[in-house]
């Protein structure tokens, strides 16, 4: 039975401080949460810091689709009440708690503030299970503060800074509550360290193994030291860093080689530890990250331009990649930034690690990205050089300086299918979009295109306004102390990051189905408007029937030009769709008052989940099947080989959005036996403007899947005797043959 004592206590504290200054309210809630939510050290941990978040609490990120800031997980709690037989008295308390949070939960507060039009068209928060064009997201994710500052001055240094700023504020007769709250929060952080110290000393006492006892005491010593001194060693630095990330609920870790590199090299030079010991630390840290099990977070970036002590950072970066190679977990999402002229050993090591079966590090091309960020965000080149890419999506942000949570999703393919049916969603039969006319009324392709654009623009405008509303309410609710502490210019201003404190407050919007939309428009333009092979009515019939009985037309649609084949017709349509949505989104920033508002074209399961509520599309995609992933060609439609695919995917501009994801898959044969080829492929891709690459080296399992679902593996190349072939085009017999041979 789930114990609710902690949640009830936090609720009590919240009630008590409900009308207090937001900084004090937040600080007192943090004090109620921590160390209560922290959990014991596990066997093998070299650093303290594990946590079991409660059903009620405070976070800058999210604990469920609408659980963020002051949150309550209503559904889970209601389930617990149904599942377990709580004593009557406790049950009443829990029910009262639920009722209390109905109006206090931050997401609920935001939704209550929706103006009528926003409430009408952004009608659901459940984007995973609802058919719709656009949905809001409730979270402030991707926070990546200035870790370097934390480690440079440590808890005592921060405490001193707060005192000094508070004194100045007092002199200026400014609000000092922000600093008072900050002080309480820092005390809580130190308390967490001391709590763990005490617990671990007890463990050490009862341990019968000398070695273990010694190790535990070392951990306890470290925890003690960081409360009274700034970190002096790598071990102390990692420990402070790790406790802090959990307390602040920061799940992405910035440019770690910059802020850890000097600690590493100093320790090595001073003979405090050797490389083996350092690797042990990193492996333990990596395991702690993996166990955090964030699915989409846990980003660590290494490499790239503007690292102050590059040689030290390189040394750390190599060790980090070795940790990834040996820990073999799906997190952290290690990423390598690189540029022409960087120590080549890093890129070489990266390929070794990827080839070893990890899909990490993810590769980021500084020579393209810095200019793109400069253009898209308007950051100076010097600032852009500081970029970091949190979570799976990788929206560019500046560590400790900018913020851009994705707070909306738009399904472009749904926008198109609704536009083809005068605002009606073919899945639910309801009017969910603007009614801009019937397909028959769009006499030219441009008529259709304009209607589609209008539809998209309407929803983008709503989402931009929603993002601002979300920030506004979050700013009123709380200063997000631990984050504001390390975000320019919150401390100097004495303001929370969403209450006017942060230097650059931006936003992002996730777009899905980009490629399917473009390919559908290509097919419609070619087959209906230009070659007149299919009528408009026929197309709608075909799609409504999910192609059943219309296989011939499906084939025609499937054979229309597709993005990803270096085909000018298809690629330029993708660019048209891309430029439209990216530029329109980007132009919202000024209107709604954000520093930037940009599209991200990303990689997660949303393409699949939203595909489930999207009907058959004119590109030949069947109803409810997944949509394309990131900026990738859809469903193995890249039939012309990897060079053609790469030539296509570098076409959409990277200088008008906040990041896009490129998944690539290579066969082990190619990756292992022809490293020279892989290197020149990647070099050419990056030279031509490739921003990013996530590389998978396919194993036997993938080949087996290719047998079952060949349509998804059209771009899988295998070596057959004296030549290469597309695996799925070989006869079943041959495929099986190859499959058996890859076993060797």
């Amino acid at each position: 039975m789930k114990d609710y004592s902690k949640e009830l206590k936090i609720t009590e504290v919240y009630k008590e401080y409900k009308d207090a200054h937001p900084a004090i309210k937040e600080a007192m809630c943090l004090k109620a949460e921590y160390p209560a939510y922290f959990t014991p050290l596990q066997d093998g941990d070299l650093f303290a810091g594990r946590l079991q978040q409660g059903r009620v609490g405070f976070t800058i990120d999210e604990w469920g689709p609408t659980a963020f800031a002051y949150y309550c997980q209503f559904e889970e709690i209601e389930n617990d009440l149904k599942t377990y037989d709580y004593p009557a008295e406790e049950k009443v308390k829990i029910e009262e708690m639920l009722k209390f949070w109905e109006t206090e939960d931050t997401s609920n507060k935001i939704r209550k503030e929706y103006p009528p039009l926003m409430a009408q068209y952004l009608f659901s928060d459940d984007w995973m299970n609802t058919s719709g064009i656009a949905f809001p997201l409730y979270r402030l994710t991707g926070s990546t503060p200035n870790f370097k500052k934390l480690l440079d001055i440590g808890i005592p240094g921060i405490y001193k800074e707060i005192e000094e700023l508070k004194a100045t504020a007092e002199e200026d007769r400014r609000d000092v509550k922000f600093y008072e709250g900050m002080k309480i929060a820092i005390d809580v952080l130190a308390d967490v360290c001391l709590y763990y110290e005490k617990e671990i000393r007890l463990l050490a006492e009862i341990s019968t193994i000398d070695e273990k006892k010694e190790e535990l005491n070392k951990i306890a010593d470290t925890l003690h030291i960081i409360t009274i001194s700034k970190p002096r060693t790598l071990r102390e630095a990692i420990q402070l860093f790790w406790i802090y990330t959990y307390a602040a609920d920061i799940r992405n870790y910035g440019r770690m080689d910059i802020y850890m590199g000097d600690f590493l090299v100093n320790d090595l030079n001073a003979g405090i530890i050797d490389e083996d010991e350092a690797l042990k630390y990193l492996k333990s840290l990596w395991q702690l990250m993996a166990d955090r099990n964030t699915v989409v977070h846990n980003r660590v970036i290494i490499g790239g331009k503007s690292r102050p002590n590059e040689a030290n950072a390189d040394r750390f970066a190599l060790l980090a990649m070795e940790a990834t190679r040996t820990v073999k977990e799906i997190e952290p999402q290690l990423s390598l930034r690189f540029y022409e002229g960087m120590n080549p050993a890093l890129f070489e090591k990266a390929l070794d690690v990827i080839g070893g079966g990890a899909t990490y590090p993810i590769l980021y091309n500084d020579d393209i990205n810095i200019n793109s960020i400069n253009n898209a965000f308007g950051f100076s080149i010097k600032e852009a050089e500081r970029y970091f890419t949190p979570y799976g999506c990788g929206e560019f942000i500046l560590e400790g300086r900018s913020f851009g949570t994705p707070s909306g999703v738009i399904n472009l393919l749904k926008a198109l299918e609704v536009t083809l049916r005068n605002g009606v969603d073919p899945v639910t039969g309801k009017v969910i979009g603007l009614q801009l006319g019937n397909f028959e009324d769009f006499h030219s392709f441009d008529d259709l295109m304009n209607a589609y654009k209008k539809q998209v623009e309407f929803f983008v405008s709503l989402l931009a306004e929603q993002e601002v509303l979300e920030y506004k309410i979050c700013g009123e609710e709380a200063p997000f102390l631990y984050n504001s502490l390390l975000y320019d210019d919150c401390m100097a201003k004495g303001k929370g990051m969403f209450a006017g404190g942060i230097k650059y407050l931006g936003g992002t919007l996730e777009t899905y189905g980009n490629t399917n939309t473009a390919d559908s428009l290509t097919a419609i333009k070619e087959l209906i408007y230009e070659r007149k092979l299919i009528s408009k009515k026929e197309l709608l019939d075909v799609l409504d029937n999910n192609f059943a009985g219309y296989e011939n037309i499906q084939l025609k649609l499937a054979n229309a030009p597709k993005y990803g084949n270096n085909n000018e017709i298809a690629d330029s349509m993708l660019e048209r769709v891309h430029n439209h949505v990216c530029n329109f989104v980007r132009n919202q920033a000024e209107r709604v008052g954000l520093h930037s508002y940009l599209v991200v074209i990303i990689n997660n399961s949303a393409n699949t989940l939203m595909g489930r509520s999207t009907h058959a599309s004119a590109d030949g995609r069947k109803a409810f099947e997944h949509m394309n992933n990131g900026n990738a060609p859809s469903g193995g439609n890249d039939k012309e080989g990897v060079t053609a695919m790469l030539n296509s995917i570098v076409k959409p501009s990277t200088a008008i959005h906040a990041g896009s994801v490129q998944n690539m898959k290579f066969s082990p044969e190619l990756f292992f036996e022809r490293r020279d080829i892989i290197k020149s492929l990647l070099k050419t891709y990056f030279d031509k403007g490739g921003s990013q690459a996530m590389i998978t080296v396919l194993n036997r399992g993938d080949l087996e899947n290719a047998l079952v679902e060949p349509e998804k593996y059209r771009n899988l190349f295998v070596r057959v005797g004296g030549f290469s072939a597309r695996f799925v085009e070989l006869s079943t017999e041959v495929q099986k043959d190859i499959l058996s041979r890859t076993l060797y």
Partner: protein
């Protein structure tokens, strides 16, 4: 017709026919009829109907559109009389499952070059380029020459994959346009060469000597077919060549695989070719070590 030719396929990101990342152009037409041919659809000089039985739904939509009686029904199954086909191509779009296609398309030099140029950056970064293969590219001599010339005009590395059976003067004419020859060496015995490939090897050897003498860069490619030419005698002959022609860029052993059979079936030519199992890795490794033992060191699996 000089400005255009018949192409079976153009393979981009080709990494096994010459160095680096390449685009390989497979031309139609070959004067040889090797029993183990792995591109049987490239032997005939003209386009051909191709039928993928595995994909056929037996809907017989093709029957009604065919101007001849190429398609017919036997035991409720779709069968094809390839000899009757006059290449109207009408059956191809009629098939709802893409079981039918025409192998061999007429392409202009410009079309081919346009495609080739798309990957030029990849060639430069990988030390790759363009390979003309087939079939036998020398059978479409003017077309091949013009593609090679256009490649050279664009500073693209060129490779010619040839069986060596073409007029000597043609080789001399094309030599300045070819950076690397992939030159087949199929069988050392004079009569057996005729038996296995349909032609004697004297012209092939003559051309080889001539090109070698003219300092052409050559990789010798030796298809090894179990039970046919995996003999000590042939391996020794390969080694003799290796010693006799020290300036060869390399020798590649091409172990037999039976992919060609699948393609032969599609054009109704299955019975013309041998049907044996694809060579396993162990066997091909053994061949390599045999050749090593015989003193042939610069050799690898192609």
């Amino acid at each position: 017709m000089n400005d255009s030719g018949i192409i079976v396929d153009i393979q981009r990101f080709s990494i096994h026919d010459g160095p680096g990342i390449r685009t390989t152009v497979f031309l139609k037409g070959c004067p040889l009829n090797c029993k183990w041919c792995h591109n049987p659809e490239a032997i005939a000089y003209k386009p051909q109907l191709s039928f993928n039985q595995e994909k056929c739904l037996n809907c017989f939509a093709c029957l009604s559109v065919c101007p001849t009686s190429t398609h017919y029904i036997k035991d409720n199954k779709h069968e094809i009389n390839f000899s009757l086909c006059q290449l109207s191509g009408d059956c191809v779009p009629a098939c709802p499952n893409e079981a039918l296609s025409i192998t061999g398309k007429i392409n202009s030099v410009e079309q081919v070059i346009e495609l080739i140029l798309k990957d030029k950056d990849f060639y430069i970064n990988s030390g790759g380029g363009v390979t003309i293969s087939g079939g036998e590219p020398m059978t479409q001599f003017q077309f091949t020459k013009q593609i090679l010339k256009a490649c050279k005009d664009n500073s693209i590395h060129t490779t010619l994959d040839t069986c060596g059976h073409a007029p000597s003067e043609k080789y001399l004419e094309i030599l300045p346009l070819v950076d690397l020859f992939l030159y087949d060496y199929k069988e050392s015995d004079y009569d057996k060469h005729k038996e296995y490939t349909g032609v004697y090897n004297d012209l092939i050897q003559k051309n080889f000597n001539m090109l070698y003498g003219a300092s052409a860069k050559i990789i010798l490619r030796c298809p090894i077919v179990p039970g046919i030419n995996d003999t000590d005698r042939h391996f020794e002959a390969i080694c003799d060549l290796y010693k006799e022609y020290p300036k060869l860029v390399g020798i590649e052993i091409m172990p037999y695989h039976n992919i060609g059979l699948d393609k032969a079936r599609k054009i109704g030519a299955e019975e013309k070719f041998i049907s044996i199992d694809t060579t396993d890795k162990e066997k091909s490794r053994k061949w390599i070590s045999t050749l090593h033992e015989l003193g042939c060191t610069n050799i690898r699996l192609g």
